[in-house]
């Protein structure tokens, strides 16, 4: 029985700039079903953090409840983590982020945790443009309770028992664009080539970055008739374009046809190199992005890739004008200036 991952790794594993190999970013061995799309997304996060030379102790991973929300145990063992209440991950993330803006926040949620019980929290965290990466591992069913249809199950999609979903689905990516999210992307767990650069770009985005990742439930929703199965998604996937993440200071050498390639400079000098495939789509125009998603949907396609991103995004700290430092680095006298200061404040309000 192999419940334990052997400690040996490939002796020639390369080290990143920090001197860590990929294995330093791994988590515990997954207890999800074999073949679960979520595990691929976890592997994508591991790869992205390794590639970005992120120090694991500068990352906090947060989640709610569900199969997806178990995954923070399976990546970044050396990072901070908080497994919160069902659908309440955004609140915890908001609190943590306000207290310590110096960490990178990765929120992991599922379609149930976001589109049902956590919908209220989800829409408000978008409104506030909290600086975090919010990933929904979207499998269209409640896998942890044996595969009932979730709110993102498409109308007419058939589940494993043969039951056909009668209700309209909530399209989380459209919703995020509509509500003003400043970075919205959609991807598929079975396509790491697309997913990893998207995660990297999202982690570098200053503000709320949302990635809806279709992640087949291999046990309850991978059957014929399901619109979230490996086969269906592969057949119906349509990409807006390809995204390459270019670290700061690196020369751009890729050779693409003029006019289709765009470089989006991020706040730290790194860049996203975008090769557009979709016609008439402008990723910086909310209406254009919305149109592209709906247009693909009307053709029965699943549009993936970067959908929308805002160049100059002001995150929650910018809007509130909070201190530039993590609260735990401030001295006691700064955090608690004393009764004289309080009197002064009160007096100014009289």
């Amino acid at each position: 029985m192999t419940y334990v991952r052997p400690k040996f790794r490939h002796p020639e594993l390369k080290k990143n700039k920090l001197g860590y190999t990929l294995s330093y970013y791994e988590g515990a061995l997954s207890t999800l079903c074999a073949g679960c799309g979520h595990d691929s997304i976890s592997a994508g996060i591991v790869q992205a953090c390794y590639d970005l030379d992120i120090e694991p102790h500068k990352v906090a991973k947060l989640s709610g409840i569900g199969c997806s929300s178990k995954t923070p145990a399976y990546f970044l063992s050396n990072s901070h983590g908080f497994n919160s209440v069902h659908g309440r991950m955004p609140s915890v993330a908001t609190g943590a982020n306000l207290a310590n803006r110096e960490l990178k926040y990765i929120g992991i949620s599922g379609d149930g945790d976001t589109a049902s019980i956590g919908m209220g929290q989800f829409v408000h965290v978008i409104r506030r443009n909290l600086n975090m990466l919010y990933i929904v591992m979207n499998n269209g069913c409640y896998g942890l309770t044996k595969g009932q249809d979730s709110a993102t199950a498409d109308e007419g999609s058939k589940n494993k028992t043969g039951h056909v979903n009668l209700f309209q689905s909530i399209d989380l990516a459209s919703l995020a664009i509509e509500l003003g999210a400043t970075f919205v992307a959609q991807s598929f767990s079975g396509d790491k080539k697309q997913l990893v650069p998207l995660i990297k770009a999202a982690m570098k985005h200053q503000g709320f970055a949302f990635i809806n990742v279709i992640s087949p439930c291999v046990t309850f929703n991978n059957n014929v008739g399901s619109t979230k199965s490996y086969d269906y998604v592969r057949e119906h996937v349509e990409a807006t374009g390809t995204v390459d993440f270019v670290p700061a200071m690196k020369e751009i050498t890729a050779d693409y046809a003029e006019g289709n390639t765009e470089h989006v400079v991020l706040h730290d000098g790194s860049m996203i190199e975008l090769h557009k495939l979709a016609q008439g789509w402008d990723p910086h125009n909310r209406i254009s992005a919305m149109n592209a998603v709906h247009h693909a949907k009307s053709k029965g396609e699943i549009l993936t890739g970067l959908l929308y991103m805002e160049h100059e995004s002001k995150d929650l700290h910018d809007m509130l004008g909070t201190t530039g430092k993590a609260l735990n680095t401030l001295g006691k006298d700064v955090l608690c200036p004393g009764s004289a200061k309080l009197k002064e404040l009160n007096a100014s309000l009289r």
Binding site: T2, P6, H10, E12, K14, G35
Partner: protein, 599 residues
């Protein structure tokens, strides 16, 4: 790349590095698992079938398997395969009942074996059960050949050798000991159906032209002859100061034997640098452990004689210089020559073949090095009735190579006696069986143990140096043997991939601890090796490539550092990966028309 042909048994055979490296292709992981289960008798029999002398080899084998062991590429040290073999031999039960039981119905054919070393004994073991009348000739009083005369008893107790030689001679072999064969012509005149020459490489090299060689003769000995004379108890002491010339395993045996026969100040002096010495690293260690310094880069210049007696040796100091092709030259350093005192000198600088007893008009062709022309597959000489094997065939090698030759020569002899073509070699016996018993259940211990290689305990130096018969290594006790056995990665449990079941979920690629699996677009091998998750630099290890998958990619597995932990198969939702035990056994003459020994 083209999809890997896993129907060809040689593909998976190569994955089992230890077995592939073993000249006799002993199914190593199979017997190591049996040792872990405490089934020592069964483990012994797996060995006995392949290498005929498990007890001997478990102590003295050159272990080509160990440098090949996959574990050595993953951590520091390979599995102690050789010493595990000894655990099976030391703890076995009644093995004789599992061996072919005579008397065997005669088949009317008569065979002579010249020399009773490992090659001839292997031929005897393989052919006796088929009804051959076998005549074994040797000049010594007992069988075993160099295993008896060259390997000192502190490494190989006589009882171990006797036992394994007797298993064979007890099969009704006609032994003609104490009988030196001085003419092959005479043997051939005795109307044998085939003659097998397993007479070894019996001539030790000398330094005949070195100054003082003649004058000092009384105290200058040829290493292998001296070891034989110790083994047969003609020699029981040596001077206090001894120089051993040479850097091979015979030199190590000479110096260590000298320490036991009165040599207080024993030195090994070798021409080459220490690292280039031919001796196995562990034999060098054992010698140094017995307070024997190894002085390298010293070329013998002369034997120094004082008052008509050997007083020591003069050496020129050199250094090794390597040219662009890696060819070594020993260049004098210009330092003054070094003198070392010695009462006795043992010359162990190599050994050679010698066939003064083979007449050159028997249709056996000899090449320009005066070696018989022997077919490397059939081991047949240019005289279709005369076969060669062991050191006699292609020069000095080792016991396990001699055994491997013996198996193949026995097949040739049998085919030839049956009037069949010797080139029709029997296919190996292979089997590939799934080990899956449940979602997380495998019928082998797939958990990879982290333990470092265990050290074999040795007897106290005070005792071993005072008694030539005291074995130095004590062998693993059963518990340590179990722990060491658990270090084996079970490389014979193969990862087998079925394309049409794969849904390309990437689970195997993500979970593989050693990053062996990559899904990528197909390319030529060089490009593919560069594009695997970790570039596949080890060209000796194959890539396992699938056919094209629905996304137009292929699965590529670099076999190099696969732990055979089964995680890929466990995380595969569709059983596209399976762990299948691959059993590969070289067919022996004895198996050809007899059922395998049922265990």
């Amino acid at each position: 790349m083209k999809p890997t042909d896993i129907q060809n048994p040689e593909y998976f055979h190569k994955v089992v590095d230890c077995q592939y490296a073993c000249p006799a292709h002993t199914p190593v992981p199979e017997y190591i698992r049996l040792i872990a289960e405490g089934k020592y008798t069964e483990a012994y029999m797996i060995n006995w079938d392949s290498n005929v002398f498990p007890g001997v080899l478990g102590r003295t084998c050159d272990r080509p398997c160990e440098p090949a062991c996959r574990r050595g590429r993953i951590e520091e040290e390979p599995v102690a395969i050789c010493r595990l073999k000894r655990v099976a031999a030391d703890n076995k039960g009644n093995v004789k009942q599992h061996m072919p039981q005579g008397p065997f119905a005669p088949n009317g054919k008569k065979i002579a074996l010249i020399g009773a070393g490992p090659a001839s004994l292997t031929v005897a073991r393989d052919l006796a059960p088929l009804g051959y009348e076998i005549h074994l000739y040797d000049e010594q009083k007992k069988g075993g050949g160099f295993m008896r005369s060259q390997i000192p008893s502190f490494r190989l107790p006589e009882r171990v050798l006797d036992e394994e030689v007797n298993y064979i001679t007890d099969m009704g072999i006609h032994t003609h000991y104490n009988q030196y064969v001085s003419s092959l012509k005479e043997i051939l005149a005795m109307n044998y159906d085939a003659v097998f020459v397993g007479s070894g490489a019996p001539q030790g090299r000398d330094l005949p032209k070195l100054e003082g060689r003649q004058e000092g003769d009384a105290n200058i000995h040829i290493g292998i002859n001296w070891l034989a004379s110790v083994a047969f108890e003609h020699t029981s002491k040596i001077g206090k100061k001894v120089i051993v010339l040479g850097g091979g395993n015979t030199a190590m045996d000479c110096c260590r034997t000298s320490r036991r026969l009165g040599g207080d100040d024993v030195k090994v002096i070798v021409r080459s640098p220490f690292a280039d010495m031919k001796a196995s690293p562990w034999e060098k260690e054992d010698a140094m452990h017995e307070d024997i310094p190894i002085i390298d880069n010293h070329v013998p210049k002369s034997f120094v004689i004082k008052n008509g007696k050997l007083a020591g040796m003069m050496f020129e100091k050199v250094e090794a210089v390597y040219d662009d092709n890696g060819k070594r030259k020993l260049v004098p350093t210009g330092e003054p020559d070094a003198f070392y005192e010695a009462d006795d000198v043992l010359v162990a600088i190599g050994q050679e073949n010698s066939f003064p007893w083979i007449e050159r008009d028997l249709g056996i062709e000899f090449d320009k090095w005066d070696m018989p022309v022997v077919d490397p597959i059939t081991y047949c000489s240019t005289n279709k009735k005369v076969f060669f094997g062991g050191d006699a065939a292609f020069g000095p090698k080792n016991v396990i190579t001699a055994v491997a030759h013996g198996h193949q020569a026995a097949i040739s002899i049998h085919l030839s006696c049956e009037g069949l073509s010797m080139m029709d070699r029997p296919a190996p016996h292979v089997n590939l069986v799934s080990q899956k018993m449940g979602i997380h259940e495998w019928s082998y211990d797939s958990m990879v143990a982290d333990d470092e290689r265990y050290i074999v305990p040795q007897a106290d130096k005070k005792i071993t140096l005072s008694n030539r018969m005291q074995e130095v290594e004590l062998g693993f006790d059963p518990l340590t043997g179990f722990k060491e056995a658990q270090r084996c990665l079970n490389c014979d449990v193969q990862t087998v991939f079925t394309e049409n079941k794969c849904i390309e979920c990437d689970a195997c690629m993500d979970v593989c601890p050693t990053s062996c699996i990559t899904f990528t677009v197909n390319e030529e091998e060089d490009a593919l090796r560069a594009h695997t998750k970790v570039p596949a630099h080890n060209m000796e290890q194959d890539l396992y490539v699938s056919d094209i998958l629905p996304t137009k990619r292929v699965m590529v597995k670099d076999e190099n550092v696969c732990l055979h932990c089964g995680l890929c198969a466990e995380r595969c939702p569709t059983s596209a990966w399976d762990m299948k035990k691959f059993f590969y056994n070289v067919t022996k003459a004895v198996n050809a028309c007899q059922q395998e020994t049922a265990l």
